[in-house]
């Protein structure tokens, strides 16, 4: 299983109602269905991914995230998930508000643009970072809204999203003490679980 999905799966309670935005080939939902008795739906637009989901018996719906989620009722899911996709949507702030309208809570994962390798790449070479962590060129990247952990938490603050839980990992999806100390420098990917009201 993809390491980030494994981490995400651990954040989800058994039996939860889950909506996975950009569910890819359905790996996470298939795991949640068979191991946690989760009732889940995934949204996806890539035809190959959709066929893979169908072959796995995953409830996949062909729907473009950028064209809105109005068809989902308020509080109709326990958890709305978006893995490695927030940075690729047109309006991440609006997306997060929608996720917390539809779900009681949401989980978002995204790459950190302030990761030390990115900083080094930009500082030393003067070019947009391209690495295992962010593998695209500036002109062909789907990642149109890259941010740092600090930027993200500022957005949460401005919108009164409650950060229930967060943790960061390195580029190999491992946790390290140093990351806890300086997350915005040593963390490559973040996992945030958000709720509606600040506690």
């Amino acid at each position: 299983m993809r390491p980030d999905l494994k981490i995400t799966a651990e954040l989800i309670k058994p039996g939860a109602r889950v909506l996975d935005l950009g569910c890819g080939d359905g790996e996470l939902l298939e795991h949640l269905q068979s191991h946690k008795g989760v009732n889940g739906y995934g949204l996806e637009i890539n035809p190959e991914n959709i066929t893979n989901c169908i072959n796995k018996g995953v409830n996949v719906i062909e729907q473009d995230l950028d064209s809105g989620l109005e068809n989902f009722a308020d509080s109709s899911f326990d958890m709305v998930i978006m893995t490695e996709t927030l940075q690729a949507v047109k309006a991440p702030d609006r997306m997060l508000r929608e996720m917390l309208r539809i779900g009681e809570q949401c989980i978002v994962t995204f790459p950190n643009f302030a990761y030390w390798r990115c900083r080094l790449h930009l500082a030393m070479r003067g070019r947009m970072p391209v690495s295992r962590h962010l593998p695209h060129n500036w002109y062909d990247t789907p990642n149109i809204h890259l941010c740092t952990f600090k930027d993200f938490e500022q957005l949460c603050d401005d919108n009164h999203f409650n950060i229930v839980e967060r943790f960061m990992v390195d580029a190999s999806h491992n946790t390290r003490p140093l990351i806890n100390r300086f997350p915005n420098f040593f963390g490559a990917f973040a996992f945030y679980r958000l709720g509606r009201e600040p506690s």
Binding site: R17, P47, T51, C53, I54, N55, V60, I61, N71
Partner: protein
């Protein structure tokens, strides 16, 4: 069933069969049929658990002959032969496929062109109006006759998809999965409007004779032709027609001031004429009314969510980008209701330039989705408790 094979991936030569229901059959309209017959075909073998049955529901002008050939010298196979057969998306190696002509049809099942046993005469315009619900009720009796307690899948396009949905609502314990292709939970005003033009074309043909044309040895060919022509336009897309016909001329030359005929004119006339020779006008009226009246939500306080909350099938909804007769949005309405009702559903919107007709065409992604879903249904049969 399969006596011969015309090609290696064909179900081969098939022989239609007849199911007779001898008892009175009450209809939704309040009238009762004194029994009925349904003509049907089957492809593949029913397994020993009797769990692998798959029902194909046909659309407006379809019939029971979905796949294979009736005789070795048939020019054309059944209407869905591209999709139904060994190794095809609806795989006769996996499923015991049942394809039935709807009650009220004109290809062998009891309908306007059969004899009313009470009078000894043709039913004609006296045949009672039937609904999608009636079709399901009649097909339930056929399933009983065949010893099928639960269908592994019920599959239909357009009006056939509506039947699959009604099946899942009315008989939740007898439908394991339902595939609705280019379908809708009810018709739009625009859809009903097109059907009304078709009906007016037929009933205003002098040869319609109040529906008693057969008794008078006439046929409203012109009305049927016009009905089919307007219908056919709605089954295609603007782009699809441009690509298929453009502005090409069949005959004449504009620059010489001659009378000309565009390719599209001759195509529509041909389609209309051939339809008028093979389809019964009263059946056409009956089928379009069944389409118009279809609205399963109406029985549940106009809530489609409440209607589909009764279902227990796993659903697959497939729609096509250029279909404006049963647009992708109409399928989405059903998907949204199923999600709200917490039912299992998957959906795909297939890129195609062929409009509503796409559901009859072998479009690779469409077949991947349909075949993938049914393959999964078949796998799960073996894992089911």
């Amino acid at each position: 069933m399969t006596d011969g094979q015309k090609t290696s991936n064909s179900v081969g030569i098939v022989t239609p069969q007849v199911f007779s229901h001898e008892a009175d059959f009450p209809l939704q309209c309040g009238r009762t049929l004194p029994g009925f017959e349904l003509v049907y075909e089957t492809y593949g073998e029913l397994n020993s658990e009797r769990s692998n049955a798959l029902l194909i529901c046909h659309a407006l002008s379809g019939n029971h002959h979905a796949a294979g050939y009736h005789a070795a010298d048939d020019r054309k196979p059944g209407w869905w032969d591209a999709c139904v057969g060994p190794g095809k998306p609806i795989d006769s190696n996996r499923f015991f496929i049942v394809s039935v002509n709807n009650l009220g049809g004109c290809h062998g099942s009891t309908g306007p062109v059969t004899i009313n046993p009470r009078t000894g005469e043709l039913w004609g315009p006296e045949f009672p109006p039937v609904t999608v619900k009636d079709w399901v009720a009649s097909q339930v009796l056929l399933a009983d006759h065949l010893g099928i307690d639960c269908f592994a899948a019920i599959v239909g396009g357009s009006l056939g998809g509506m039947q699959a949905l009604q099946w899942a609502i009315d008989q939740p314990q007898r439908v394991r999965s339902a595939v609705l292709i280019a379908s809708a939970a009810r018709l739009s005003a625009q859809n009903i409007a097109f059907n009304e033009i078709a009906r007016q074309a037929i009933t205003s043909d002098p040869n319609f004779a109040g529906g008693r044309y057969r008794q008078q040895h006439r046929n409203p060919n012109l009305g049927l032709m016009l009905a089919r022509m307007v219908g056919h336009i709605t089954y295609l897309s603007d782009d699809g027609m441009r690509q298929k016909f453009g502005r090409e001329l069949k005959s004449g030359d504009l620059s010489l001031g001659q009378d000309v005929e565009f390719q599209v004119e001759s195509y529509l006339q041909y389609q209309g004429r051939s339809f008028s020779q093979r389809f019964d006008a009263n059946t056409y009226l009956l089928m379009t009314r069944a389409l118009d009246y279809f609205d399963p939500a109406s029985e549940y306080g106009d809530s489609l969510v409440d209607a589909v909350a009764r279902t227990s099938a796993r659903f697959c909804l497939i729609s096509f980008t250029t279909d404006w007769r049963f647009s992708a949005t109409r399928s989405k309405e059903i998907v949204d209701a199923l999600i709200a009702a917490r039912r299992n559903v998957c959906s795909a919107v297939i890129d195609s330039e062929h409009g509503h007709d796409s559901f009859l065409l072998p479009i690779p992604r469409y077949f991947d989705v349909l075949g993938g879903f049914l393959n999964r249904v078949h796998q799960d049969l073996n894992n089911a408790p």
